[in-house]
C-alpha cells in the first residue's frame, strides 16, 4: 500500500520543525522558513478531505513561525503594541505546547515499537479445533442465499479505486510563498490599496489563497504594507506603505534563503 508520501527524512512540517530544533539545535532565526511553510502547504494540498479545523490550525502555525522569525529579524520592536506582543507570546506558547505534544507521542511510538518487537518473539496458537469437531461446528453457510454469494462475488471482483494513489487529483503546488512575495512586490506598489478578497478573487485554489495570505504577512512584518481588519472575520484591507528602512531586495533574499 503506497501511503508514505512524505519525504523519508521528515514526516511533515511538524516533524521537520521538531527535528531541526532538537537535533540540529538551531533556532527559528536559522531555520529555512519557506521550506517549512511550503511543507505545510503541501500537506494541506494533500488532504483528501477539506477540513477547516485542520487547515486553520496549520495556517496558524505557519503564520506564527513567520511572525516569530520576522520579529527576530527586526531590531526595532519598541514601537510595537503591547497587545500584539502578548498575542505573539500566546501563539508561540501554543506552538510550543503542540511541538511538545508531538514529541511526546514520538517517544511513545518508540516504546510501542519495542513492545511490539518483544511481543513478536512469541507466536500464538491459532490452529483451531481439529477434524474430530467438524460435525460439531455450526454450519456457517446457514442462511446464506445464492444471491448473497453472488453479491459478495461482485463486490470482491469489482476493482476498487485506491484513494491513496489518486494521481489524477494531485495538484503540484505551483507557487511558493517566495513567488507570491515577488508578485505582490510587483503588484501592490501599482495598486496602492486593495482588499484581500479582491486580491485573491481570481485564484481558484485554496492553497494559492493561503500562499497569498502568508506572503502578505511576510510583507507586513517587513514593513512594506499596512493591514487592517476593521471587523472580526471581515475583509482585510491592504495598503502599500513601505517604511523608510524597507528594502525590497532584502526581503526577497530573506524569503528565499529562509
Amino acid at each position: 500500500m503506497a501511503m508514505n508520501v512524505a519525504t523519508p527524512v521528515y514526516e511533515g512540517p511538524f516533524d521537520m520543525l521538531l527535528q531541526l530544533i532538537l537535533k540540529e539545535q538551531v533556532d527559528i532565526y536559522e531555520v529555512n522558513l519557506s521550506t517549512i511553510v511550503d511543507a505545510y502547504l503541501a500537506e494541506l494540498d494533500r488532504m483528501q478531505e477539506l477540513d477547516l479545523d485542520v487547515a486553520t490550525g496549520f495556517l496558524l502555525i505557519a503564520a506564527t513561525l513567520i511572525e516569530l522569525k520576522a520579529r527576530r529579524l527586526l531590531p526595532n520592536m519598541s514601537d510595537l503594541d503591547l497587545d500584539d506582543e502578548l498575542a505573539l507570546w500566546e501563539e508561540r506558547d501554543m506552538l510550543l505546547a503542540r511541538l511538545l505534544e508531538a514529541k511526546t507521542f514520538k517517544d511513545v511510538a518508540q516504546v510501542f515499537a519495542q513492545l511490539a518487537s518483544e511481543a513478536d518473539r512469541s507466536f500464538p496458537r491459532v490452529v483451531g479445533p481439529d477434524e474430530r469437531f467438524a460435525a460439531t461446528l455450526p454450519d456457517m453457510l446457514e442462511g446464506t442465499s445464492v444471491t448473497r454469494l453472488r453479491n459478495a462475488a461482485i463486490s470482491a471482483l469489482t476493482p476498487k479505486p485506491i484513494p491513496t494513489v489518486d494521481l489524477f487529483h494531485i495538484n503540484p503546488i505551483k507557487t511558493t510563498v517566495a513567488d507570491a512575495v515577488t508578485e505582490l512586490l510587483d503588484e501592490l506598489p501599482r495598486i496602492g490599496r486593495i482588499t484581500f478578497r479582491r486580491l485573491t478573487a481570481d485564484l481558484g485554489e485554496r492553497v494559492e489563497v493561503i500562499i497569498r495570505f502568508l506572503a502578505l504577512l511576510e510583507l507586513f512584518k517587513q514593513g512594506a504594507i499596512e493591514l487592517d481588519q476593521p471587523e472580526r472575520f471581515g475583509d482585510i484591507e491592504i495598503a502599500w506603505s513601505p517604511d523608510d528602512s524597507f528594502d525590497s531586495e532584502a526581503i526577497l533574499i530573506d524569503t528565499y534563503e529562509g
Binding site: R132, V146, T158
Partner: protein, 222 residues
C-alpha cells in the same frame, strides 16, 4: 538406549524438546518427525524418542491436551474426556458465523475456481490463509488441483457439500456475474497494482437484498 556419543548433552536436549513443543503448538497440520529433525538438526530417531517422552510427561501431569502421532506427524489435541467442554465452547465461538471477509473469499473461489491462494490474495488485497483454512476445515472448499507453473501452487475449488448447502445442483446454477464485473484485463490491471477507475457501480447491497425473492438477474441493471 542409543549410542552415547550420538547423544547431545542434557541442556541441549531440554532446548530441543522445548523447540519441538513450540513448533507443534503453532502448526496447523501434524508435523512429521523428519521435518522436526531437519528444523532442529537432530536425528529423526532422537526426535521420535523426545516426542514420546513429551507425550508421556503430558499424560503423567494429566493435562487437558495430549501429544498424538497422527496422519504421519505429531500434533496437540484435546483429551477425549473433555469433548463436552470443547463442544460447548465451539458453539459459543464467534467464528461460527461467516464473516464478510469469509463470504467474499468463498464467493471468489466459487466463481473463479480453480484458483490459487496468491490469486485470492491479489483480489482481496489481504492475506487469505486463515480464511481459506477455515473454509477448507468446514468442507466448503478443497484443494482440487495443482498449477502447472513452476511453483505447482495448490488450486482451490468448491466442494459438493458447498453446493448442497446452497441448494445448487451444479456450479452452472450459480447466478451469472460476468455482466456486472469489468473485463478480465481491467481486473488484471488492478492485480498489477495499477489504479483503475471502476467502470460499473455495484448496486448497493441493501437494494438487492430488499428485492423480493431475490429477482437476481439484473432487474436493476441497464
Amino acid at each position: 538406549m542409543t549410542d552415547d556419543i550420538l547423544n547431545p548433552i542434557d541442556d541441549q536436549v531440554d532446548e530441543f524438546k522445548r523447540a519441538i513443543e513450540s513448533i507443534i503448538l503453532v502448526a496447523h497440520d501434524p508435523v512429521p518427525a523428519e521435518l522436526l529433525a531437519q528444523l532442529i538438526e537432530q536425528p529423526t530417531m532422537l526426535i521420535e524418542q523426545w516426542c514420546s517422552e513429551l507425550a508421556e510427561s503430558y499424560s503423567q501431569a494429566a493435562h487437558g491436551f495430549e501429544l498424538v502421532q497422527i496422519a504421519g506427524g505429531y500434533r496437540y489435541q484435546t483429551a477425549p474426556d473433555l469433548t463436552p467442554y470443547v463442544e460447548r465452547f465451539l458453539l459459543h465461538d464467534q467464528r461460527a458465523r461467516l464473516s464478510g471477509a469469509a463470504l467474499e473469499t468463498l464467493a471468489i473461489v466459487a466463481y473463479k475456481q480453480p484458483i490459487s491462494r496468491s490469486q485470492v490474495a491479489a483480489i482481496r488485497g489481504v492475506d487469505p490463509d486463515g480464511v481459506l483454512r477455515t473454509l477448507q476445515a468446514r468442507g466448503y472448499i478443497d484443494e482440487t488441483a495443482r498449477d502447472d507453473g513452476p511453483g505447482q501452487a495448490i488450486l482451490y475449488g468448491t466442494t459438493t457439500s458447498f453446493l448442497e448447502k446452497l441448494g445448487l445442483a451444479s456450479l452452472d446454477d450459480l447466478p451469472a456475474i460476468a455482466e456486472f464485473i469489468p473485463d478480465a484485463d481491467v481486473v488484471e490491471a488492478l492485480e498489477d497494482g495499477l489504479r483503475v477507475t471502476p467502470q460499473v457501480d455495484v448496486a448497493p447491497r441493501e437494494m438487492s437484498q430488499n428485492e423480493p425473492g431475490g429477482s437476481s438477474d439484473g432487474a436493476s441493471w441497464p
